[in-house]
């Protein structure tokens, strides 16, 4: 029976797994097999379900249907602890460390080296941490508290944690998003070592060239559906993109050509110490300007400062020629600014509040005036306005009184857009406007932004989605480590030129 070397079953696998959250179908019939000694890529657009796959492997989510298999045997992870016990280590996009505890304790929490009496052997723990850092080639002090570490260093701590666990399966959810070229190379070296030691690795990245460089096999997801698993050998970047997107790219980006009008937003030498430095640019009416760069380059931080969420230390912001005070969203709104923030769940919406009230939250004053004298709000005005915007943005909902949390991601984003467009802004800043929403809605959002620009709105768009940046923007501003390093006009913007600037390989020859 077992004579001719049967192929070993995959270390860890999802077989025909489906998972939904409320109304949102996150995964549908997904199968992924992770083999020992192989680096497996998971490809898909934002919102394709990659993070749900990661969390299912990690024991955070349990499949609604389908199976999780460990070495070929069905297994149920009742929580992260079960997954860890089974040898699964996960490195999340955003590291989750204990800020108050030392780096060494973060690595060894729950598994500290002990003396014969069962107490923690701190010296051994620090030595072990130091040794791990030596292997990884980084200089971190094991005694230092995790609070205040850079994202890259936090990532290193997470990787050290996984290595120290002797993980059989390593899941890496966009580990390179915030790393520089050198740091990525270092990470790949470590990953290959683990691979040679027989570890099964799942690797997620938005940078396709990284996938081709590091991985042997790829599984593609689109809108939570499994598209296929195949060897990367013989596949081209275009093939992969086609599988991820499922249609020609051009269809998605209907940016109309417009002649830019007057300057609507002018940012001069804006600085927030330790976050971004000396950022200057302008956005004209009718223009869509993209702000590109790696995660952690300071793009969202610039947007937050402009809108007044964060204080700035130096520089000026002018909207329509009028200077804004630092740190006052109220003043920014009065001047005609609107910000669709990065984190929809925390910053964009009040999840438990109804659709209509979320939409009305930015216009409490005008809703008040509409109902005549006194400070009372007219519910009818609130509802009428909400219905109006719901129609204009083709929002899919059952009742305006429903909590916004029951909508799908794309429809939630429409509510955020409606909430801001209803303030009739002259400058719209959108931070990752299509992150985590389905392709159909994504196209709608793009069309909407394009129309708005055509109607003389100035749009500043922050996006990590390169095709989106290239397709939508009239100009691309690129940030690297808190500085604006390049301004690339539409006809010269390519994946290569933007990525080169974003990864800091452009220093010296700067703006094209």
């Amino acid at each position: 029976m077992n004579a001719p070397a049967p192929p070993a079953p995959p270390r860890l696998a999802l077989v025909n797994v489906s998972k939904s959250f409320g109304a949102v179908q996150a995964l549908q019939g997904v199968t992924i097999e992770l083999y020992a000694g192989e680096v497996h890529a998971l490809a898909g657009e934002n919102g394709a379900g990659k993070s749900t796959v990661v969390k299912t492997f990690a024991g955070v989510h349990r499949p609604d249907t389908g199976e999780l298999r460990l070495n070929g045997e069905p297994v149920t992870f009742h929580g992260p602890a079960d997954a860890q016990a089974a040898g699964v280590a996960v490195i999340y996009q955003e590291p989750t460390l204990f800020p108050d505890l030392s780096v060494a304790e973060n690595i060894f929490m729950g598994r500290q080296p002990r003396t014969s009496l069962g107490r923690i052997d701190r010296r051994a723990m620090h030595a072990a941490a130091a040794e791990l850092f030596t292997r990884l080639g980084v200089a971190l002090d094991p005694r230092q508290p995790a609070r205040g570490l850079s994202i890259a260093d936090q990532q290193v701590v997470e990787i050290a944690k996984a290595i120290s666990r002797d993980a059989q399966v390593l899941i890496m959810d966009e580990p390179t998003a915030a790393l520089t070229g050198q740091e990525v190379a270092r990470l790949f070296t470590v990953t290959r070592t683990l691979q040679q030691q027989g570890c099964a690795i799942l690797f997620i990245s938005h940078r396709l060239e990284e996938i081709f460089e590091l991985c042997q096999r790829v599984t593609t997801l689109r809108d939570g559906r499994w598209i296929g698993s195949e060897l990367l050998d013989g596949l081209t970047t275009d093939d992969l993109v086609h599988r991820m997107v499922g249609r020609e790219l051009e269809d998605l980006y209907p940016k109309q050509d417009v002649t830019p009008g007057e300057v609507a937003l002018k940012v001069s030498r804006l600085t927030r110490e330790g976050v971004f430095t000396d950022v200057s640019f302008q956005v004209r009416r009718g223009e869509i300007v993209a702000l590109a760069g790696l995660v952690g380059a300071g793009r969202s931080e610039v947007a937050r400062a402009i809108f007044g969420v964060d204080r700035w230390d130096a520089g000026e912001v002018e909207v329509g020629g009028v200077g804004l005070p630092s740190a006052s969203p109220t003043a920014a709104m009065a001047a005609g600014l609107a910000l669709v923030p990065e984190d929809r769940r925390q910053q964009g919406l009040v999840m438990d509040m109804s659709i209509e009230r979320n939409m009305g939250l930015t216009q409490l004053r005008s809703l008040r005036r509409a109902s005549g004298p006194g400070p009372l709000i007219s519910r009818r005005a609130e509802r009428d306005r909400a219905r109006d915007w719901a129609t204009r943005l083709q929002l899919k909902f059952s009742r305006l009184g429903d909590a916004v949390g029951v909508l799908s991601g794309g429809n939630q984003q429409k509510v955020v857009l409606a909430k801001w467009l209803a303030t009739e802004p002259s400058v719209l800043i959108v931070d990752e406007p299509t992150r985590g929403i389905d392709v159909g809605t994504k196209a709608e959002v793009h069309r909407l932004l394009s129309e708005l620009a055509a109607q003389d709105l100035a749009v500043l768009m922050i996006s990590s989605d390169l095709p989106e940046v290239l397709g939508m923007a009239d100009r691309v501003l690129v940030m690297h480590e808190g500085r604006l390093v390049a301004e690339i006009p539409r006809d010269q913007a390519t994946e290569e030129s933007v990525m080169a600037a974003a990864t800091g390989q452009l220093k010296g020859k700067a703006a094209a």
């Binding site: 969203p329 509040m353 009305g360 930015t362 809703l367 009372l376 709000i377 519910r379 029951v406």
Partner: protein
């Protein structure tokens, strides 16, 4: 996960709202009480029961706004005590009562502003801050008056606190409460400020990003809480005819119990003023009923404590049960894919 919870909670929320449950409970207690004790239902007793609740009811109004906004003010009873002590001390020093009232109310504003500034300027948790000022304000009350009791306040003012509005069975403080309750209900449920409060309590970041002046609103709320507590201190002093430093010790617990019993979520963002009023009345009637039936006063605090725990525990259990059911429901049809 979060989405699942929202959906499950909402489903059930449509059929079973906690504030409605409390209101129903209130009716049951009312009629049950009338059956149990013949004195319970008569107007004299009811107006006494209401009057006895006066301070708790008054302070519960701003407390509702604070808790909806995700904050809490544990120092209210100490502000009440300080106000009482200050009233006594000033009266003892020969001040005119007409001057004392504004001065005491002003002191309440200051107490509230101290809470509010520590919370908004330094970003400290309101729980920690107001545990500190609870101790501080009560201590200052003792410093002012020691263990003395000041009595014999002018009759016309004492009457205001103890007698009924002419031609009605409603004591003046209760009438004031009704007035303030209407204002508070309108603010909470029909103005932009109310919308802002819910938004801040449910998702402070999102409220801030929507241009709501979060800090200013919180500061004002703490100040209002201070004012109302100070005013309640004057009422308390007049009602008992005695100004003491230890007036109203532990009252903050009764107020919070009433607010939470009324279905306001301690984590902020959810609640109705109607529910709180039902909660206040329920606690008041229960106390009165226990008293009429000669149940030892000690039992009252047991009942209050249990009510507090049950009122927070029950909605959570209901939600958890709903979620479990939603999960099961979800799994079954999904097992047979189309």
């Amino acid at each position: 996960m979060a989405e699942g919870r929202t959906a499950g909670g909402l489903d059930l929320g449509r059929f079973l709202r906690w504030d409605v449950v409390v209101a129903a409970l209130l009716i049951v207690v009312f009629f049950g009480g009338a059956g149990l004790s013949p004195d319970f239902g008569n107007t004299d007793n009811l107006s006494f029961a209401l009057g006895d609740l006066g301070e708790i009811a008054l302070i519960a109004l701003p407390m509702t706004l604070l808790v909806v906004c995700g904050q809490v003010d544990l120092s209210v009873a100490s502000v009440l005590g300080l106000a009482s002590a200050l009233t006594g001390a000033l009266w003892d020093a020969g001040w005119a009562f007409e001057t004392i009232v504004p001065v005491v109310v002003l002191a309440g504003v200051v107490c509230g502003l101290i809470n509010g500034l520590l919370v908004t300027r330094l970003g400290l948790p309101s729980l920690a801050v107001t545990i500190g000022t609870l101790s501080l304000y009560r201590g200052l009350a003792y410093v002012l008056l020691g263990t003395e009791a000041i009595a014999e306040f002018p009759q016309q003012y004492a009457d205001l606190a103890t007698t009924n509005v002419p031609g009605t069975p409603v004591p003046y403080p209760v009438a004031l409460f009704v007035l303030l309750a209407i204002v508070t209900a309108l603010v909470l449920h029909a103005t932009g400020i109310g919308r802002s409060l819910f938004a801040i309590g449910a998702q402070e970041d999102a409220a801030f990003y929507a241009g709501i002046r979060v800090k200013r609103i919180k500061l004002v709320l703490f100040a209002v809480s201070g004012v109302v507590a100070a005013f309640a201190g004057i009422v308390y002093t007049l009602r008992y005819g005695s100004a003491r430093a230890d007036n109203g010790v532990g009252l903050e617990l009764a107020v919070i119990a009433a607010v939470l019993l009324g279905g306001v979520d301690f984590d902020g963002g959810k609640g109705t003023l109607g529910g709180v009023i039902a909660g206040v009345l329920l606690i008041g009637l229960l106390r009165n009923l226990l008293m009429l039936n000669d149940v030892a006063t000690e039992i009252q605090s047991i009942v209050t404590g249990l009510l507090l725990i049950v009122s927070v525990l029950t909605p959570r259990l209901i939600t958890a049960a709903g979620q479990a059911r939603a999960r099961r429901r979800h799994r079954d049809p999904a097992a047979a894919p189309a």
